[in-house]
């Protein structure tokens, strides 16, 4: 089971890393002439503290007792560690439910986005010279310039009328709203894939769908990674869409649960911070283990 789920990811990660790593090694052999720049190292090291300080503060506060918070600045090392903060946060924010909701929405949006958006992009990329497909392409692209506030109020009416003001609705919305950017990302990539392969398959009698699933989709690895990362980070961390769409407290996502908790117990810092750490942890862990892969994926999506 685990092997099955791991292999494709690892395979992509490997093929992903090969390019940049080889290039980097090549560059490093070139760079060897440069001396190590200690001023730059010091500058980068000092500045990186500004990234780490808030995270350090979050961990410190989450480990303390309320008394230590009341008297200190929050930065001191805890005198006694109070692990119950995490247990309290677990029950008070109804953490398992929120985690399940966020997980469901993120995974649902991820799978549906990868499967559907790539198909749309394939059809558009291969027919961009036809008016219908070209118009569709620019229609989707134009939506990138429409800010969310204008659709926010009517959209809420619409989803509650349809009865999809729940996780299913969120999955649909992320998949549909993602189309604009994802089709743009996929299309540019698909157009670099030579068409001869598909033509050969068509001659052998494969249908258009068959061609897509057995030839194109496997070749989309790097772009699937990019789109997947962007979708995951978006769906996991998003706050405004769940805030306005989800109506039932049982449907709350992790971010929404933090918001509600903050509103109810806004001075209960130790438990709140434990809960923040738990909300951040899953994505942060994924990032720590797949760091290089995540960075290259995001870069690929934004640089053309």
């Amino acid at each position: 089971m685990t092997t099955v789920t791991n292999t494709p990811a690892q395979a992509t990660a490997l093929s992903e890393n090969e390019g940049p790593r080889r290039r980097r090694r090549f560059r490093e052999s070139q760079e060897d002439t440069r001396k190590i720049n200690w001023w730059a190292t010091a500058f980068i090291a000092v500045c990186s503290l500004t990234v780490l300080i808030p995270l350090y503060l979050a961990v410190m506060v989450a480990l303390k007792t309320p008394d230590q918070i009341a008297t200190g600045t929050g930065f001191e090392w805890p005198t006694t560690v109070r692990w119950e903060n995490f247990a309290d946060a677990w029950t008070r924010t109804n953490f398992p439910q929120a985690l399940l909701n966020t997980g469901l929405i993120t995974v649902g949006a991820l799978v549906l986005t990868l499967l559907s958006n790539s198909i749309v992009a394939y059809a558009i990329a291969r027919n961009i010279h036809r008016r219908f497909f070209r118009t569709s392409y620019f229609y989707l692209l134009a939506a990138l310039f429409i800010p969310f506030p204008i659709i926010m109020l009517p959209l809420v009416k619409q989803t509650s009328l349809l009865g999809i003001d729940n996780q299913v609705g969120m999955i649909i919305l992320y998949t549909v709203f993602g189309l604009s950017l994802n089709v743009f990302i996929y299309t540019a990539y698909i157009r670099t894939i030579p068409i001869e392969l598909e033509e050969a398959a068509t001659v052998d009698g494969a249908s258009t769908w068959r061609v897509f699933w057995s030839i194109i989709f496997p070749l989309l690895g790097p772009m699937n990674a990019t789109v997947g990362i962007l979708t995951c980070v978006w769906a996991w961390n998003d706050f405004i869409l769940p805030l306005v769409i989800l109506s039932d407290p049982g449907d709350r996502t992790l971010q929404l649960a933090q918001y509600v908790f903050q509103g109810q117990f806004n001075t209960d810092y130790t438990v709140a911070f434990a809960s923040y750490l738990m909300a951040m942890a899953p994505l942060l862990l994924v990032y720590i283990f797949a760091q290089r892969w995540v960075i290259s994926g995001v870069t690929r999506g934004s640089i053309k």
Binding site: E31, I36, N37, A40, T41, I44, V51, L52, P54, L57, I69, T73, G74, F75, S116, I119, V120, A123, I124, R126, H129, R130, F132, F133, S136, Y139, L140, A143, F145, I146, P147, F148, P149, I150, I151, M152, P154, L155, Q158, L173, V176, F177, L179, W209, F212, N237, F239, V244, L254, Q258, Y269, F273, A279, L283, V286, Y287, Q291, V294, I295, I303
Partner: protein, 315 residues
Amino acid sequence: MSTATTKTEAIVTAGSRRVRGRRPLTARAEGRAAPAFYWMVWPALALFAFFHTLPVLVGIFFSFTNYPGFGTWEFVGFANYANLFRDDRVLAAYGFSFGFAIAATILTNVISLAIAMGLNAKIVGRNAFRGIYFVPYVLAILVVGYVFQFLFSNSLPRLLPNIPLVAENILSNPEWAWLPIVILAVWQACAFAIIIYLSGLQTIPHELYEAASLDGAKSWRQFRSITFPLISAFFTINMVLSLKGFLQVFDHIVALTNGGPGTATESITLLIYKGGFTGGEFAYQTANAVIFVIVITIVSLLQFRVLQRREADFG
């Protein structure tokens, strides 16, 4: 029979149009695409139109009514729009959003360009540092914002009791509460901007700098004449994306001040949310949103123009 002829004619005309359009005359380019291709696109288009375009149109429609979000409504013409321009709260929200967005955009770009250049130099542990700087990208702004809120309201007043501004909670100071919001926004946005600048900087060959220093160019001169012109496309992208994103600021404010003290830090998105959902101003705030779309589009296009002209000047 007749339909078959029309179809053939259509194919022929389409084909000849292709020739006139100087497109490569391959077998694919002629006529209609395989039906499967249409089936791949139109369901997605229909869903997109339903969930994205329809709400926009409904919003525009209701912006000409007095609909409070429930019950009955009637047309009021341009009254909502006329009132927007006389509403001090709306004008203040635009003022705040623009001030905030400009400050955050400039700071984000200056800081992330500096850090990207540092990361591009030959330094110890470059990949580890690059990894650290990207961490904020995967964290939710809301949650990080709550940590910053604690930092500004509890930690800093005790750590720095002698600095007048931070000694009392800066978040409850109507004059300066925008500053922590800018700091949070820059902290978060730099992660992405650094990566963009870094990939821009990596396209510049080192030989250029070596040649320049042989010619006696100092670092500032190298930056002005080599680095900046060569990454100006990345600069344009970052400036446009940051400004557009920051103008729509929402999560940061909810976490830090919730628009307060009073309405001192209320952004346009927050105002639309508050007024539209809890203030019974559905139609009025939709009109506000329509104006907001127009403003954002104009600003983005203007910025593109100006920055691209700069690019041309440098090149």
